[in-house]
Symmetry: C2
Subunit: 140 residues, 2 copies
Amino acid sequence: MTSFPGTELAKRGGAPDCVQTIELVRDVLARVGDKWTLLTITALASGPLRFTALHEQVAGVSQRMLSQTLRALTRDGLVTRTAYPEVPPRVEYALTPLGRSLSEAVDGLVHWVRSHQGDIARNRDEFDRTPVAKTPRQRL
Amino acid sequence: MTSFPGTELAKRGGAPDCVQTIELVRDVLARVGDKWTLLTITALASGPLRFTALHEQVAGVSQRMLSQTLRALTRDGLVTRTAYPEVPPRVEYALTPLGRSLSEAVDGLVHWVRSHQGDIARNRDEFDRTPVAKTPRQRL
DNA sequence: CGGGATCCATACTGATACTG
DNA sequence: CAGTATCAGTATGGATCCCG
């Protein structure tokens, strides 16, 4: 369960090395978990798309955010950016093998969420409904 | 590759239903990918811990953030909060079965990252080193 | 000891306007 | 078409003080 090599020791001691790994894991998770990345990757999953196509498809994203997201993904080598020197500029984005690889890895989480979203929803619901029990205290 | 039921259709059409799922997936991913969650879960992976213990172990987290993170995790039913009515207050946090389940699911990503961090680092490095070629600009 | 309530600095985001 | 630059509102994280 989330076992990094040396986690046990590092945790109870003072972590020097594995922290780097955790940082990177979180970094990747943060990117994937960011507001537009998952939508963007999903959109590209079925094939290359142009900027405008993505902009329409992701629905809700601003040019700015889409641009940023794509640059970040490109930087990590998860997506390729191909510009064709044509009269009306044309740029296509596509998932790289690495991108697809990550996409598949993410699938695990996706499935987990799909099969446990009920539990989470139920827990949240109960937690929110609970007046003042476990939660220390509160005043209105 | 990140295949949600009906993703293909929804993508090329106009997504109504699966969007909800994606939203929730992103929601969970965002939580896991948030700055302190992964560290916190990892810390709790080897057993229950008190607030202060966590505070020391996670290293760098403020009381506020730790408190928030724990409340969010508790709300989702991923962590339990047990307060013992003793003279010096004592509260223990522990992963729930659901929490461990998620933790295991996250392992997939962890392993992916571990085996591809080299690629990512290399890509970023190259991307950043590239002056101003095709990529409009560099830097985030 | 375990947080809640506040205040403040900064990061992030969206809307808008402007280019090659 | 495919972005970038700018500005303003908002969300986020940390530091601090305080109370049960």
